[in-house]
Each structure stands twice: as C-alpha cells, then as structure tokens.
C-alpha cells in the first residue's frame, strides 16, 4: 500500500474517533509525512553499503545536534525538551523506516498483513502519545513544532480525506462502534484541541534551527579562523575564546559544573548538560528507552484486525455482479434440484444415512421357512462346569481355607493349576463388598481359546460304577458249606510241618515234619495216635487213596518210605492185610528194570528194625525226593526228584516193586508230577509250563502255558478236566482242559507266594495257601454241560498262622467227605478249619 494511502486511512480513523483523539491522529499523520520524506532519502541511499548507511546516520545525528545547540544557545529552558524530542523523533523515524521497507517488500496481495503491521505501528505511536501528553508541556511543544513543520500539507490533505471519510463512515458504523468502545477501554487521555495554540512558540522548523550554515565540512577547516561558520544572515559565528590546558585545569578546579560541560564541535560552545540530559544518557548507556516517562507496556488498542475493520480495504465501490446471483450457477442448481426430485441423485446426507443403515445389523427370522443347510456334523464343545458352593460370595464356613490349606495354597503359587480351586474361596459379609474378579477376562479368553484351538474327540463317558467292574458272582452265603473258621489247632511237632494228609476215610491225619517224625492224629479229637521217628526231615507224606490199604508214602531225603501206620489206627484187618501184601516181595524175575532206571532207583530190603517201626517198603533214589503223588488206584506212586534232569520223574509200581522213568529227555526244571484221576495221563509241571503226557501211548498230549513265572504246585480237579496251578508269583491259574491250553482264569487271591493248593473230592471247593497269612477257600464249580464254563467264586479268607520266617502255610488238604480244611503251618502246628 502506498504511504499516502496509509496516511489517508490513518486520518480517516482519527476523524471517526471522538474528538479527544483527533490531536493524536494528526500527530501520527505528521509522522507519516516525515516517513514519506525520508523514504526518498532511503531510496537514494539504497546503493550505499551498510557501513555507509551507518555513517550517514551518524552524520545526520551530528547535524541535528548542531541544530539543538543553537536552540540551547537561545534558551536553556527549551534546550532539554528539544533534545529529547529530537531523539524521540529519530527513534520514530527509524521505526517508520522499518515499516516502509516492510511495505515495499510486501506485495499488494499481502495487504491485510501490511495493514496489520501499520496498525501495530500506529498503536505503538499512539501508545507513546498519552504518556507524552500526560507528562508535561514538553510533548505539547513537540507536537506544535511538528505541526508547524507540516502545516500546509496537513491542511490540504485533511479536506480531501474528510470527504472520503464521510462516505465510509456510514458504511462501517458498526466497526467504528467497536473501535470506539475499544478506544474508550484503552483510556487514552488527551487534551482537547482548543486548549492548544499551534503557533505559540513561533513558526519554527528544523531548517530554521540550523544556526551554522557552513555545511558538512570538516571542522578543522576553520581552525585557523576566529569563526566556525556563518549564520543564516551570513554573519560569522565567532568562536568562543579558546582555552589552553592551564585554563582547562583551572576551570576544572573552579567550576563545579565542569564535569557535565561538553563542547559542541560545530559551534565550539560549551554546553552544560542538564539533569534530564544526564538521566537520558544514563538510560541510553543502559540500553533502555531514553525517555523515563515512556510506558512500554501500554494496553493494546486494536485498529485493524480480523474483528475490527475500521477502514475499507478498497476505496472503489463493489461491482454490480457482486450483488446479483450468478446465472450459470442458477442453472446448475436447478439441474441438481430436478435430479433430486426425480430421484436420480441423492444428497450427501441421504447417502450417509443409507450407508449407516446398511452398516446396522438387521435381524430377521433366520429359522423361519427355508431350506436346511447341510454342514458337517460337529461335536459340541463341552460345557463349563457349574459352580460349587465354594465359589459363592458367601460360602459355608467349611469351604473357607484354614491355615494349613492356606499354606498349601501359598506353596502352589508357582503352579496354580495344581491348586484345589482356581479361585480363593472368600467370604464377603455383604454383596456390596464383592469386588470384581480379576481373572475374569482371562478365563473368558481361555474359554475362547479352548473353543477354537482345543482338539475335540468323542469320548465315551463311563456311566458305570466302580462296583460294576467287579464280576457279578453268587454270594458266598449261597455257596455253603465251606470252612469259615478254625476249629482245631494240633500242636506236637517240634519243627515246621512240611506236609499233612487225611486217610481215605478222613478219620486220621498224618503229618510229616522237619523234626524227623511222622505223626498220626485223630481228626475228631486231635489226639496224637502214633509218632514214627525217622531221623531225618520229612519232605512229604501222602496217604494211599486205595481203601483196602493202610499205607503212607513218606519222602525222607533220597528215600521214599511206605509206612503202615499200624493196627491201632483204623481197621486192624486192613493193616494186617497190607502187611501181608507187602511182606513178600514179588519174585525177582518179575522185576524188570532197565539199566537207566536201576542206576537211579534202588528198591531196598526192609530190615526187621525198620519193619517194626512200620516201614514196609523203602526205595532209594539218586537225588532227594521233593514230591510224591499217588495214583488214584494206589498201585503207582509218582516221585519227583530234585535236580533230576531227565530222570526227575520216577514212577514206582508197588505191586511189582518196579520203577519206570517215563521221560527220556529233560524238558526243564520239574516241580512236580501228578496223575490224572482216572485216565492214564501224567501232568508234569516244570518251571513255567505244565505238560500232559499219555502214559500208555507215551506221547505228549498237551502243553499248558501257565503264564506264571515259577510254578509251585498243581492240583487236578477230581473230574479230571480242570487243572489248577499255583505259582510262587502269587497266582492261581485255572485251566479248563476241554477249553484250551491257555488259562481259563488267573486268580490273584494271595499276597505272597502260593505254595499249596487242593481240590475237595466231593464238594466244589478248592483251597490255596502260601506265604501270606490267609488261606483262601474258593468255590470251583465244574458243570457237566460242556457249554457252561466253570464258575470260580472266592469264598473266604481264613486267617492262618502267623508268618514264621518267610513261610506261613506249607500244605493244605481237604477232608475226603467233609468240607474241612487241614493246613500244615510253619509255626509247628496243624490247623483244621470247618
């Protein structure tokens, strides 16, 4: 914006304001005039370098000083304000310079900006004004001087401006009001115009102030002359009398004002600086604003901003088309309206609404009519367990953890999944005190993970009870009779009783013990009827099953003795018959034994002493005898020898006093051998296998895999079709020979090794005993119907003797007719259960 316009604007605003302000406005406008003048100077100097520019400034300063000096010469009173004013002015000037340069830099486009700047400037100016006016007459004087300077131009311009202003004034009353109020707020205190006389101090100007007209020449040119230049009338300005150093010194000593006396180089006059001058110098030295009365923090008065637009931007009126609506736009709009009416287009709001509606979920009857969708059959996820009492916010007191449980809870803090609950059961006195469950979100998240990440499979849930797994068997009470308690305890042996047996009628008991005796007892009373001392430990005793004979087979070390218990036991005729039968050995030519047999078996001749003891037949073997088994008819005895290898099993025929070795080759460690009750078969138990041989055909009939680690004993069912095997590894194995060579059932009824077992001859009972305290009586029913499998029911655990050493019960036998069980115990007793 050109400066004249700015000036014009300024003027306008000042006119619009209340009268009080007018004076200031004029002041500012005069400032502007100065600016204008100086602009020309600046333009000229623009070629010069910065340093030159500075020099120029200095020069100008010097010039002004000269002028001031002249004033001071006139009057001391006027001197100070003048100088002050000049400095003021210079500062103003510099301000305006900046402003102008800014203006020139700015384009027309940045008009508002420049306006703002100007307004700021003007603000600053006006800011100075009140303080100046408020302080003293000085400011008045200054104003007057300035006005004198610009008198003519002011008058001329004012008239034109006022005319232009009146037009705008009407337009922008509102903005003016705002401005007025603003200004009132700012409280600019000024004096009315009437009070001031512009020409009070005479018509002076800067030019007239200049006393010395010598121009800008170095002062030393006048060194040789008595004058220093010329005044306006061309008269010489006489130098004041020059002082030498002594004079100076004297003056220094005498004159109290000397310290503030300076010499003006342009006139050569001494100038005494006033108090104000000194203050100003002091302030300048401190680089503060020279005038002490200047207020730097005056309130801001807005002249021209976004809100306040006191002046128009342009001076010319608006074009007509700016008032009339556009024709083409009208056409466009009508087209759009038509399209909207016809529904060809939609408004933005409509579109947005539609979009929003589309995003909103619409629910409808999904399971109404409609085809079925086939999806692969899915396994529903298992539901979460429902809460127990412990989860309650107020659980019963028993669910709260006591101190011990709490300790365990704390101990498992590292492994919380091992805890009893996932939460700590706590009691809250009221619902209000229940806090949020901190793991709730986590638990829900884990459930989500389970739902999509956990593998699923159909698992049949067991709806059975544990009791259902136990086989349903008839109650033992329905399977009576069987022995239920101990009825008789027979003592008398001095060492553990190895073996016991009933006689075929069941009246007597024979027992063999480690103390080297064989004793015969009466079953009904338990009285010892006879004791046979044999001198060595008896391994086995077995009464012959033949009814017409009275014979007991005794295994005594390597020998097998056949004892006749005596005439006082049982029918004496039977005893006598037996004696008669065994008195005469058969003729020697009848006894035909091959060399293999005779090398290991020796039928001994029984001497009179032994005969008297009851020994009727004695057979010596090459190895100790471990097991003796009678054939059902009583003619044959199968003897098992320890470590006999191929000759471990020997079969003796009593009637012919002859022995046989049925096996040619060893098939393992033979444990025992027993005869089939009625068929010519022999069961030979080795360590793990039971072999069934046909003695007539001399061939292996069957090999039974027991599955046991070490067989201890075998027993054949009286019917002959079933076999029971006992083993040291606590098992009882039942074989149904008709069914298969595999075990029909394996019973683990014992806690220790099973050493003995026996079938009852008439009742469907069997008993087993071993190294644990209990004898087990079981029901073993074999049906004649081949389709029906044997029924095995353990009936009773009979408490046996205490364990002595490792052993407990060594042998069991059933009474031939009664359900009575006889046990040979390791604690030197024989026990009868009924």
């Amino acid at each position: 914006m050109p400066p004249y316009k700015a000036g014009l604007k300024r003027k306008v605003t000042s006119d619009k304001k209340s009268d009080n302000v007018v004076e200031d406005k004029q002041d500012s406008s005069s400032d502007n005039e100065i600016e204008d003048l100086l602009q020309g100077d600046l333009d000229k100097e623009s070629d010069a370098t910065d340093s030159e520019h500075e020099q120029e400034d200095d020069g100008s300063d010097g010039e002004r000083d000269e002028v001031l000096f002249d004033d001071s010469a006139d009057s001391v009173l006027e001197e100070d304000p003048q100088s002050e004013e000049s400095i003021d002015e210079s500062s103003d000037l510099s301000d305006s310079e900046d402003n102008e340069s800014g203006d020139s830099a700015d384009d027309d486009e940045s008009q508002p900006e420049s306006d703002e700047e100007q307004s700021a400037d003007s603000g600053a100016e006006t800011g100075t004004a009140p303080s100046a006016s408020g302080s003293s007459d000085e400011s008045n004087k200054k104003n007057q001087i300035l006005k004198n300077e610009n008198e003519k131009s002011n008058i001329k311009q004012a008239s034109t401006k006022k005319k232009a202003l009146k037009q705008r004034q009407k337009k922008k009353m509102s903005s003016i009001d705002v401005l007025a109020s603003k200004i009132q707020e700012a409280k600019v205190s000024t004096e009315p115009v009437q009070q001031k006389d512009e020409y009070e101090s005479g018509d002076t100007s800067d030019e007239e102030d200049r006393v010395n007209t010598a121009g800008e020449v170095p002062m030393w040119w006048y060194n040789e002359y008595p004058h220093v230049g010329y005044d306006l009338d061309g008269r010489r300005l006489i130098k004041p009398p020059q002082r030498d150093h002594i004079d100076e010194f004297l003056k220094k000593c005498e004159d109290p004002e000397f310290w503030r006396t300076v010499r003006d180089p342009s006139t050569g006059q001494d100038i005494v600086l006033s108090k104000e001058d000194l203050q100003m110098l002091e302030r300048l030295r401190q680089s503060r604003v020279p005038s002490a009365t200047h207020d730097e923090y005056e309130p801001w008065v807005e002249w021209f901003s976004r809100e306040v637009l006191a002046t128009p931007l342009r001076a010319f009126p608006e074009h007509k088309r700016s008032f009339l609506p556009s024709r083409s736009e009208q056409k466009q709009i009508s087209r759009i309206v038509h399209a909207l009416k016809m529904g060809w287009t939609k408004t933005r709001k409509q579109i947005a609404d539609e979009r929003k509606k589309k995003k909103e979920r619409q629910f409808y009857n999904l399971w109404g009519a409609g085809g079925q969708v086939r999806a692969p059959r899915s396994l529903p996820a298992p539901r979460r367990a429902l809460p127990s009492h412990a989860e309650s916010y107020n659980p019963p007191p028993e669910y709260l953890l006591d101190r011990r449980e709490m300790k365990e809870w704390d101990k498992l803090s590292e492994t919380p999944w091992k805890r009893k609950y996932t939460f700590l059961p706590t009691r809250h006195a009221s619902l209000r005190e229940v806090p949020a469950y901190p793991r709730y979100v986590r638990e829900r998240f884990l459930r989500c993970l389970d739902l999509y990440l956990a593998p699923r499979a159909i698992k049949m849930r067991l709806t059975i009870n544990a009791e259902d797994l136990v086989p349903k068997l008839p109650s033992p009470r329905d399977l009576q009779p069987f022995p239920t308690s101990e009825v008789l305890r027979i003592t008398g042996h001095e060492a553990l009783v190895r073996s016991v047996d009933f006689d075929p009628s069941g009246q007597y008991i024979v027992s063999g013990s480690d103390d080297g005796t064989v004793k015969v007892w009466e079953t009904s009373s338990g009285r010892c009827l006879r004791t046979v001392r044999l001198g060595a430990a008896v391994a086995r005793v077995a009464w012959t099953p033949a009814l017409g004979l009275s014979l007991v087979a005794v295994a005594l070390g390597r020998r097998l003795l056949l004892l006749n218990p005596g005439a006082d036991i049982g029918a004496h005729r039977v005893a006598a018959d037996t004696d008669a039968l065994l008195a005469e050995p058969p003729p020697a030519h009848d006894v035909l034994m091959d060399e293999r047999t005779s090398s290991c078996v020796q039928w001994e001749v029984v001497d009179a002493e032994q005969w008297a003891r009851g020994v009727r037949v004695a057979v010596a073997h090459f190895k100790p005898v471990t097991h003796v088994a009678w054939h059902a008819r009583g003619d044959y005895v199968a003897v098992t020898l320890a470590e006999g290898a191929a000759r471990a099993v020997v079969v003796h025929q009593l009637s012919r006093r002859r022995s046989q070795l049925p096996f040619r080759r060893a098939k393992g460690l033979v444990q025992c051998a027993v005869f089939h009750p009625h068929r010519p078969l022999i069961f030979v138990a080795t360590q793990r296998v039971v072999r069934v041989y046909d003695l007539v055909k001399q061939e292996l009939v069957r090999k039974l895999q027991t599955g046991a680690q070490w067989i201890s004993a075998i027993a054949v069912h009286p019917a002959g079709d079933n076999l029971l095997v006992a083993s040291y590894d606590r098992k009882l194995v039942w074989f149904d020979l008709e069914l298969s060579a595999r075990p029909y059932q394996t019973l683990r009824l014992h806690g220790g090794a099973v050493r003995a077992l026996a079938f009852h001859r008439r009742y469907p009972l069997f008993a087993s005993a071993g190294d644990d305290r209990y004898l087990v009586v079981a029901h073993g029913m074999v049906y004649n119907d081949l389709l029906q499998n044997p029924l095995l029911v353990p009936l009773k655990q009979l408490p046996g003797p205490e364990r002595s050493g490792e052993l407990c019960v060594l042998d069991v036998r059933w009474h031939p007719a009664q359900p009575w069980l006889l046990a040979a115990a390791a604690d030197h007793t024989i026990r009868l259960y009924a």
Partner: protein, 608 residues
Amino acid sequence: MVAKKKKKYSSGEGAQFMTRKAALKKLQLTLKDFRRICILKGIYPREPRNRKRAQKGAGGIKTLYHTKDIKFLLHEPIIWKLRELKVFQQKIRKARAMREYQKMKKYFRDYPEINIDHIVKERYPTFVDALRDLDDCLTLCFLFSTFPSLKRVPPDQSLLCRRLTVEFMHAVIAAKALRKVFVSVKGYYYQAELEGQTITWIVPHHFSFQPQSKDEVDFKIMSTFVEFYIMMLGFVNFKLYHSLNLVYPPKLTAAFNADTEKDLVDERVYVSERIAAMNISVARIAGANEVEELPEIDIFNTEDTDPQKLEEAKLEAEKVKKLKTMFKGLKFFINREVPREPLVFIIRCFGGEVSWDRNHFVGATFDETDESIAYQIVDRPTMDKQYLSRYYIQPQWVFDSVNTRSLLPINKYLMGAVLPPHLSPFVDKTKDQVYIPPEARALNDPNFKPLSEDGPSEEEIEEDSEEEKEEKEESEDEDAEKALTKQYQQEVEQDSQSEDESDDDIDPEKKKLAKEKKKAMAVTTGVTFKENPYQKEIEDKQAFRLREKLVRKKHRNLYKSMKAGQEKRKKDIWLLRKKRRLHDEKVKEENKVEKRKQKMQMLEAAST
C-alpha cells in the same frame, strides 16, 4: 504285471486328517485369516485315534483338522470376502503412507462388511440348536457389554453387545424363564430354561474390565468370537421375541411420563435408556394374549415310563409354575448401594415390581415414600429413616428365595444381620458322594436342624432357663452327632421292621396259630437266630474284597482309578464335615461366652 503299489496314507486315518500348515496351504490363507474363519465357522482341531498315522508318520504333536472340514471351508464365500478385505487393507496402508487422508477416510467408510447370517443358520440349523449353544455366547456378550473402547475391538461391538444382552434379558423376563441364580466371586450366574434348553450364563461384577497384558489376553480373538455371537444372539432374540409375541426391536408398552417430560430431544435415546432400565415391559404385538398358561402335564399309563418319575415330573412342573409368579404383586424398592441390574432382572422375572431412587438411574416407577412397598432391599447396616410398612432385607434373600422356589422367612436376612451362607443351586444333590452343607439339608427336610443355628426363640428359652439346663443342652448338643447317627440307625431299623411287618401282615392268622401251637407244645420259646448285622457286614465286605481281586486285568487300572477317585471324594467330604464341626463348636463356644457375659452384666445392673 505287478499291481501299482498303494501310496501310504492315501486312505484311512492318514487321509482323514490334515495338519494346520497343510490346511493353510490348501486354503491359501494367512494364519490370521484362517483363525478368523475357523472361529466364525466353528471349525476346530480333532483328536485322532492314532496320532502317528494321522500325522502321516511325522513325529511330535501337530494340530490336526479333519480334511472334510477343510474342504468344507474351501467352499465358503467368506474366504473371497477375506481376500477383498486384504486388498482394502493394502489400499488403506498405501493411502496412509502417501498421506492421502481423504482417500483413506473414504476407504474406511467403504470398508466391506462380512455378512455371516448364513453361517449362523449353517451352524445352528434349528432354533433349539442355537439355544443349546448359547452359554458361551451370552457370557462373552455380557462381558463385552462392559468393555470400554479398545484398540483391537471394533467400536460398535460393545454397544451392540449391550443392546442385545438387554434385549435378551427382556425376553427372559417376558418368558419368565429364569430358574436359578447364584452370586459367585466371579459374577452372577443365571440359569434360564428356554424351549426346554437350560442356558447358563455369567454376568461379571462391576468394574470387571482391567487392562490385560498382551500375552495374557488377545482381545482380537475374543472380538472375532463376539462378531459371530452378536449375529447369533440377534437372531435368537428376534426369534424369541416373535415366539413371545413381542415387537422385536423392543418398544415400551406406553410412552409413560410423556406429558410430564418436556419435548423429547432424541426419542431413540429415551427409549433405549428406559429399555436398559428393564423396568417396563416391552410392547406386545397387537392382539396377542397377555398370559399363556402352559397345559398341565397329563399322565399317560405307558408301560415304559416309571410312574414315580412321572409323579416327580408333575411335582417339579408345579413348583416351577409357582416359582414363575413368586414375586407377583410384591413391590420392591432397591436402595442406592445395591447392584441394580441383577436384582431388577430377577425380581421382574418372577413378576415383582421394582423401583429405585429416581436420581440413581432412569426408569424408576415409584418413590421410596410409596407405602405399598413390601420389601426394601438394602445393603448397609443401618438406615436413618425406616418405614414400618415394609421389610428391610439384604439382597441375598432374593437370590436364596429364587433358589428354594419360595419366599424364605426374612428373619435371617434383615438389615444388618449376619447372612447365612449363600449356596450354589447347581450342585447335583442326586449324585452320590456329594457333600451337602447342613443349610442345604435343612432346606430339603424341615425336621433337620443344623447344629450351629440357634434360632432367636430358642435363645430366649435358653436365657430363661437355668444354667444347669443350659449345660445339659450343651452336652446334648455335643453329642448331637452321635444322637444323629443313633437316630439314623433307629430309622433304618424301623424301616426294616416295617418291611418285616409288611411281610408278616400277609398272614397274621397263621402267625397266631403258630404261636398257639407253640404254647400248646409247652416248649420254651425258641430264640430265632439273629444274625449280627455287624458280623454280616464284615463278611460281605470280605467277600467283596475277594471278588475285587477278580476284576479283569483289562479293567483293573480303571477300577483302581475309580476307587481312588471315590476315596478322594470321600476324604474331601470327611474333611468338609470335620471343618464344619470344628467351626460350629467354635461358634457355640463364643456364643456361650457372650451369653454368660450378658448375664453377668444383667446381674450387675440388677444389683446396682
């Protein structure tokens, strides 16, 4: 010519299963997308019978899916949608990188929505199927309805969850379907019965949302679940409302208070707030009957059904019917400190009327000053202003009453009283080896009297009585357990006797005759052999122990583990009983001391 050798794993279990990696390759999806589609479609890994074969001989444990499932996914149109999304995401990413925010905004605006209606139908072909699987859905939706806006959760999800859950609760209220409630430390458990399906859900306590660490909880996964559950719950709600003759997006029956309130600024907000208050029944479809009575169960004499069972079912139905109108005609007022939503829901479910402080929440129907209020639910020890016309009870009364299906006596639940334990209604009492706390037993049979509970009346009596008497009672109480066992034994004996008698009753005349005969013979009366029951029991036990040894080898381990479980349960029950006994004794002791103290004080007061 040699036949072509069959390739291994081309049939059988090897061909049935597919590892996740193979599935990803087949579907050409990223793991993220695959996870999403699996969640939406309800596809999950399967446990193979033979893992080695299913993994085609590979070692380790791999996530296996049914090949059939993956092939099923292959035809899913959503997969194409997912690919479209991917393109969109790329576009958005590019726009962001180029700082074309206008464009980005537009992309966000036009972001394609995945429509999963058909998946809901596919996964739940019938409405009942959906109801059966509603547990997790409701639990998660109720949780999400409490969530603030989260980074990985779409912004509208939580609001929608809130809306749908409130709608569902309205449906439950209208159907009177709520059966059981339980306040646990985790939250409120509700069990409703809709269309014959029991649905159980949990609503967390207030302020359940807490910031979770990233490796603890992945909200993205939960949000995907919620995405599906929202649709499912929406459709279920629609169907429920329809079956109940309600207008689906629920509307209020009457625009109440419309005249008093000034012009509604936003009617939708107004309605939704009132609906959230759950205090006004929602609008019915015009012309629908208000109440539909369920027909009574008729008993058919079919051969296969057990008449006793039928009788039980009938009884149960009657009880449920009573439960539905338990609070009918009763007015409740909820105090400020009581959690409003659960109680309003429960009371309204059983026909009660509720209100609360007008300043507390919108939708209050009557004020505290209303004299017709029957119960005021308070959760503070005392109140300044009390009305004589109503009971001041603690909230647990409502929960316990619902679980026992009758209005419980309020004396234990009065304001400031120490509450009796709150028991879970979900414990199956019919199962054996379940510990039933004495309180629950007391509920089941009125004759049972738990040890610890001294009714106020009893206390008074005790106070009146002399000390000796007290001591006597105490000693009695100490032996109460013994007495109980004795009583039990007596009962058993009575039962057996009665049975015997019933046997004998068949021919009493004969018996008489026999007696006469005996008298005539003049022989001393023979003492019948009486089997010692103890002995018999021992024998049976022994026999059983023997039989136990005959358990087949195949089942032995199973049997052992089952036995161990039984033992453990037994031990747990034993422990609980013991703890309870100790606790009761302690409480009794304390009571005694207190009483004595009181007496002493009384005496002192009297003397002075």
